[in-house]
């Protein structure tokens, strides 16, 4: 078992090294950085699916929430927007909170006092009036905020704090969102839960796309501050010039590699920490309880386990990890673009990683993140190379060869598909299956 873990990770290292040598080390480190972030996402999903059997197809939404946190924490505030409508908007939120509080209080207090029908009617009235009131207050504020230099800002901006802080905030906010989602959806059975969470995450993305005051919507926020130095600043530094000269690298290369290594060390620190926590938990009675719940909820409930509560707990934890990964990703990208949160990229791909790696197993989840990300990026050159090799015998401008090379981009998808099928064929329980304890 342990041999297998070592072998698979060694293989991964070799693959990256090959990329480093054949293509370039910059590419290798670029891939590695995202491998690590992917591995954090898979850890999150694996907690939910592998430990507890919860199918969360809302990965995309939680990652996006984490990304939003990066914007809100790190971008400088837009003073003009705050002046134009910030106060009014906050007032609106305050009113919203009051409305919700009043509604819940009413619901609780009248439980045995009013007839069901009366309760529903009054409740509906409170909500509708509240909604109207909130909209009345916020609409004007939103218009005012979005009118402030719409091409450049048009949103409230953030708090201008160090972006690393957003990693923690992203996790917390994603956790809070997960709590709300979990309360609604966790009663559902597997496939239903999958689609419900997917649906909710779509809703979340739509909010991000359409509420411009929050993070500019589809107009994107770019130029997020970095936690690491900029390449062009590094290139001015004497020590780097020296280093580049001694190592025979070009200045640009050297500076990019250094930046990537800086990111890498941050990411790896997070991954190792999370891994330790997750591994501890999985091996403790807590993990045993979770697996028991996964196997048979009815029996676990009869053995005194609060299945609902535990489901919620793991849902929150896993989603928080996804939020953390989302904030890290946005930090690395330096921008927040709601459009990029597509189910294919963030839900399906991450699930593929978990299953290919081997669910219920933290090593498996991590290696799944590494391998699949690697091929997600390298499938394009591999496909191109394949096409070239396949048609090498053909005339340089034979129509078939031309067509094949022209459509080479699509071999990226095909290659990806074939690789997935092959891996799952030869280790159907994932590269590193769940261990017996």
């Amino acid at each position: 078992m342990n041999m297998r873990v070592i072998a698979v990770f060694a293989l991964m290292g070799i693959l990256l090294a090959i990329v480093g040598m054949v293509q370039s080390w910059n590419v290798a480190f670029n891939i590695l950085n995202l491998c690590v972030i992917s591995a954090i996402m898979t850890l999150g999903v694996n907690m939910q699916w592998g430990y507890a059997g919860l199918v969360n197809f809302g990965v995309m939404g939680f990652v996006a929430v984490g990304g939003l946190a990066a914007v809100v924490i790190a971008m400088p505030p837009v003073e003009a927007a705050w002046q134009a409508g910030g106060g009014r908007l906050m007032l609106g939120f305050g009113v919203m909170a009051v409305v919700i509080a009043v509604a819940t209080a009413f619901w609780r207090m009248t439980k045995h006092r009013l007839s069901r029908r009366a309760r529903y009617i009054i409740m509906a009235a409170i909500l509708v009036l509240g909604y109207g009131l909130v909209r009345y207050i916020t609409d004007a504020a939103v218009v005012a905020i979005e009118a402030v230099e719409p091409a450049k800002s048009g949103y409230l901006g953030g708090f201008g704090l160090p972006i690393l802080l957003s990693w923690a905030v992203g996790a917390v906010v994603a956790g809070i969102v997960a709590m709300l989602v979990g309360r609604i959806a966790l009663g559902l059975r597997s496939d239903y839960l999958a689609i419900a969470t997917l649906g909710i995450s779509e809703i979340m993305i739509y909010i991000l796309k359409n509420e411009d005051w929050l993070a500019r919507g589809v107009k994107n926020v770019s130029g997020l501050p970095r936690p690491v130095p900029y390449e062009i600043d590094l290139q001015q530094k004497a020590w780097l010039n020296q280093l580049a000269e001694t190592s025979g690298q070009s200045l640009a290369n050297a500076s990019s590699i250094i930046v990537k290594l800086c990111y890498l060390s941050l990411f790896v620190a997070v991954l190792v920490g999370l891994f330790w926590l997750a591994e501890k938990a999985l091996r403790a009675p807590w993990g045993r309880m979770m697996r028991a719940i996964r196997d048979n909820e009815v029996a676990a409930e009869a053995m005194g386990k609060d299945v609902k509560g535990r489901h919620l707990q793991i849902f929150i934890l896993g989603s928080a990890v996804l939020g953390l990964a989302g904030a890290m990703l946005t930090t690395l990208d330096g921008q927040f673009t709601p459009h990029s949160y597509q189910p294919l990229r963030f839900t399906f791909l991450v699930w593929v990683m978990v299953i290919v790696g081997g669910s219920g197993n933290n090593y498996g989840a991590i290696i799944g993140g590494f391998i699949i990300w690697f091929f997600w990026i390298e499938a394009e050159p591999i496909g191109l190379w394949l096409m070239d090799a396949l048609t090498a015998g053909l005339d340089a401008d034979s129509p078939l060869r031309v067509h094949l090379l022209e459509s080479a981009a699509h071999t990226r998808l095909m290659t990806m598909g074939v690789i997935m099928l092959l891996v799952l064929r030869f280790s159907p329980k994932g590269l590193i299956p769940e261990a017996k304890r």
């Binding site: 699916w49 199918v55 609604i184 959806a185 009663g187 559902l188 059975r189 597997s190 496939d191 239903y192 999958a194 689609i195 419900a196 997917l198 649906g199 909710i200 779509e202 809703i203 739509y206 909010i207 359409n210 189910p343 294919l344 399906f348 699930w351 593929v352 299953i355 290919v356 669910s359 094949l404 459509s407 699509h410 071999t411 990226r412 998808l413 095909m414 290659t415 990806m416 598909g417 074939v418 997935m420 099928l421 799952l424 064929r425 159907p428 329980k429």
Partner: protein, 337 residues
């Protein structure tokens, strides 16, 4: 009186007809999903691409027929190319089963492994299709476009509002209803259908009853091939064929299957309608309808829209979540056929 009829026509034209069509399109897709789910026990994410593949082969065949000068007047040529598409998809599904799914069945892999495997197939097919026909839009409709169009309708009735019904809309509606009825009847009342459900429920016991699993699987894929080709082609005829849309179509199709209750053929169609009509009715601007119905003095100023179309898709998911909260196994109480 005329006002009321005008209002009704308005609603028919902008809500009922498109809703029925779109609902049926989703329903046909969802029916295929349900078919695979209820017999082979996994959510087939390659479904969208299979639909696309079916439409593609039909298109290629249509082009060929058109090139040979074969045409059928008012009826779209594609309808006659359809059988060839179906044969091609049968070949595809059976090959895919043979090369891919069979192995996982034999080792009794859990449904999510099958699901992920079908994603692998989705990637592969997606690439293959673009490879063959390219990523572009393809128009392959010929024949008569409208059963009745808005202008004709206005002239005929002398009403203010027009009503348009496209040939493809009529076709979609009829075929979808026929297919649902057939699948329901087949699973419910034929021996083969029942044996398929039995196989799905307890494979070992099915063996002990003398049911031949190979046959069950064969029949399942054949019916699925019918469904996907039909759904893919009708959709392509009505809107237009473009590989990428079939990927986007996957989500609403799954949503329909789930809302209706996955595993239930009737549920599939119902789910399709719920998704389609929730989008249409809630984002519809009722200004003109109310304009007809209310006295002039009360005529509304705003658009009278419950929710902006910005949130159209979010809305269909919201409905989905609401339905599931109220009825956790879907409208038709899934999993039980």
């Amino acid at each position: 009186m005329v006002d009321i009829i005008n209002a009704l026509v308005l609603i028919a034209n902008f809500i009922v007809v498109p809703g029925l069509t779109y609902g049926c399109q989703l329903g046909l897709g969802a029916l295929g999903i349900t078919m695979i789910y209820s017999v082979l026990r996994f959510s087939n994410f390659a479904h969208g691409e299979m639909m696309s593949f079916g439409a593609m082969t039909t298109i290629l065949m249509t082009w060929w027929m058109q090139a040979q000068g074969i045409s059928f007047g008012a009826v779209p040529t594609a309808l006659f190319a359809l059988p060839f598409g179906i044969v091609a998809v049968i070949a595809l599904t059976l090959t895919a089963d043979r090369l891919v799914f069979r192995y996982y069945r034999s080792i009794k892999a859990p449904p999510v492994t099958m699901l992920i495997v079908s994603m692998g197939l989705m990637f592969f097919l997606g690439g293959l299709i673009r490879f063959i026909i390219g990523p572009d839009d393809q128009n392959f409709f010929d024949g008569q476009r409208f059963i009745i169009n808005a202008r004709q309708f206005k002239e005929m009735t002398g009403l203010n509002e027009g009503l348009a019904i496209k040939t493809t809309q009529g076709m979609t509606l009829i075929l979808a209803v026929l297919m649902v009825g057939f699948v329901f009847w087949f699973l419910r009342h034929t021996r083969t259908g029942k044996s398929m459900r039995a196989y799905a429920n307890n494979e070992d016991l099915a063996l002990l009853s003398g049911i031949n699993p190979e046959r069950v699987i064969l029949v399942t894929w054949v019916i699925t091939a019918f469904l996907v080709t039909l759904a893919g082609t009708l959709y392509g005829l009505d809107k237009s064929y473009k590989p990428f849309t079939y990927l986007s179509l996957l989500l609403p199709i799954f949503a329909s299957a789930i809302v209706g209750g996955i595993g239930s053929p009737i549920g599939a169609i119902l789910g399709g309608f719920v998704i389609a009509f929730s989008e249409l009715t809630i984002t519809f601007a009722y200004k003109r309808v109310l304009g007809y119905l209310l006295p002039q003095s009360l005529e509304p100023q705003g658009l009278m829209q419950l929710l902006s179309t910005d949130y159209k898709i979010a809305l269909s998911f919201l409905i989905l979540v609401l339905v599931l909260i109220l009825k956790p196994t879907g409208i038709a109480g899934g999993k039980v056929i």
